[in-house]
């Protein structure tokens, strides 16, 4: 289903598949203009820093935002069969994964050109991506449920994403805050900041992530995912009623 959705998505626009990569790159371009050209911030290594953080963040924010509205978008289907409601957000997240692979491919190519070598530490990208994926899918299910219950959650989630973008260290470096205790606190309290930092450490500094921390984040969101699947199975008909009548 996700693959079909992708094909449909690609055929809708003239530029087709190019959009997948173009959109996140435009984001990076805007940031570059603001922070490097206008504000004249640190230039050496800042663009790769920005790219890794922003592209990983877009994966999270776009998937979760789209998935949150997916059950409502699929109302035609909801009214016709008793489908598991988890199917809709999951298809969106899966679609996002395929997209992200293309985006990451481009990002790796850029990093190589910039002179960041491929090292054995890049192997840590695998657990990092898996944990990020688990986090995305758990948040996507929560978001989709909330939006079904009350549409008002939809703009709230978009706002929340903006908020997250500012507090997760995308255009500022968590590690440059100075106070080590503050750094610890931010990384512990905000799993997204931890993951984004992890991607940067691996790709740019050849430093492996804190595996125990990674495991805890993965297990936590894994548990949340499992609970959400059970809950959504339980309240499947209630969600259908909400979608069809609201």
């Amino acid at each position: 289903m996700a693959r079909m959705a992708l094909r449909a998505d690609a055929s809708r626009f003239f530029l087709g598949y190019v959009w997948w990569v173009l959109e996140p790159l435009l984001w990076v371009a805007v940031f570059y203009v603001v922070f490097v050209v206008i504000l004249g911030a640190r230039s050496e290594g800042f663009l790769p820093f920005l790219m890794v953080g922003k592209l990983a963040f877009v994966w999270f924010s776009k998937s979760v935002t789209q998935a949150s509205n997916s059950i409502i978008t699929g109302r035609g289907l909801v009214g016709k069969i008793n489908v598991p409601k988890t199917l809709f957000p999951m298809a969106v997240v899966q679609e996002g994964l395929y997209r992200q692979i293309a985006v990451f491919g481009l990002m790796f190519a850029y990093l190589l050109v910039e002179g960041y070598p491929i090292t054995l530490t890049w192997f840590y990208l695998v657990p990092l991506m898996i944990v990020t994926y688990i986090m995305i899918i758990a948040c996507a299910l929560v978001g989709a449920c909330l939006v079904c219950v009350a549409r008002d959650f939809s703009p709230l989630i978009s706002l929340g994403m903006m908020f997250l973008m500012f507090i997760s260290g995308i255009f500022w470096d968590v590690r440059e805050l100075g106070d080590p205790q503050k750094v610890e606190l931010i990384l512990a309290a905000n799993p997204l900041a931890f993951l984004l930092d992890g991607f940067r450490q691996v790709l740019m500094h050849a430093t492996p992530p804190d595996l125990l921390h990674l495991l805890i984040v993965g297990a936590g969101f894994g548990a949340l995912f499992w609970v959400m699947v059970l809950v959504m199975r339980r309240i499947s008909q209630y969600l259908a009623l909400k979608v069809l009548t609201a």
Binding site: M1, M4, A5, R7, A8, D9, S11, R12, G74, G76, L77, V78, G79, K80, I81, N82, V83, Q237, Y238, A240, L241, L244, T245, A246
Partner: protein, 247 residues
């Protein structure tokens, strides 16, 4: 007809369905769609559902298909039996071809990918869509859409078939063909619940008919009797209304 003879396939046991709209309408925002509806559906019979728009016909089908759960009461389906709702256009994805849509629809209704693929030739042939079968659904006319939807629905195999006004579409040629195909299935072993506004169609296809009004059962019984009573009421109301108009 076969009322007590057959085995019960599905039972609605004093079913109520209410929902809150959030906005203050009736009863502080509570809508009553179905009020205390009870019904037994027997194996192999064809049951018609009639009534005006908005009296809860589609909701009744959705309850039978398990899409919605009743607020009060119970919907019991005989263990191991499946009920599936066939309406027009199973949430078509506009940008995908008719073929992909048919494939998705069949898979969502419980076929494996291989089974679904094996239906495709049949679907292409029966729907007479020709080359358009491989074009995106957004390029289809509404008639072509109806053909695709009906044919896809026809190919699925379920124990209890719930049909929501599916036979009143397409051009005359296709409608005849669709009706014939449907009749074949209905006269067979298939258990069917059938919603339609066409009195003649209901009379000729159904064994029994349930008449709903304002979420309540007005009458259940032999098709001809209930349909006639319903038609009489409808024309009667029209006469009264016409009389009320001044001048």
């Amino acid at each position: 007809m076969s009322e007590e003879a057959g085995k019960v396939m599905l039972e609605l046991d004093s079913v109520w369905l209410n929902y809150h709209t959030g906005k203050q309408t009736f009863d502080h925002g509570t809508h009553h769609v179905l009020n205390d509806v009870s019904l037994k559906l027997y194996e192999g019979e064809t049951l018609g559902l009639i009534g005006r728009n908005g009296v809860g016909k589609t909701t009744t089908l959705r309850l039978m298909a398990g899409i919605l759960a009743p607020t009060r009461g119970q919907v019991k389906v005989r263990p191991g039996k499946t009920a599936s709702l066939l309406t027009l256009g199973l949430g078509f994805k506009q940008d995908l071809s008719g073929r992909d849509n048919a494939l998705l629809a069949a898979m969502l209704q419980g076929s494996t990918r291989r089974q679904a693929e094996s239906f495709l030739d049949e679907i292409a042939e029966f729907s007479e869509l020709g080359e358009s079968f491989h074009l995106p659904v957004k390029t289809y006319s509404s008639g072509m859409r109806a053909r695709l939807a009906f044919t896809t629905a026809l190919m699925t195999h379920v124990d209890i078939l719930l049909i929501d006004e599916i036979l009143s579409v397409g051009d005359a040629h296709f409608r005849g063909k669709a009706l014939g195909a449907m009749q074949n299935r209905i006269t067979g072993e298939q258990t069917v619940v059938f919603v339609s506004h066409l009195a003649d169609q209901v009379k000729s296809l159904c064994d029994r008919v349930m008449w709903l009004d304002h979420g309540k059962v007005v009458a259940v019984g032999a098709a001809a009797e209930v349909v006639d009573a319903y038609s009489e009421k409808m024309t009667g109301e029209r006469v009264i209304k016409n009389r009320d108009v001044p001048e």
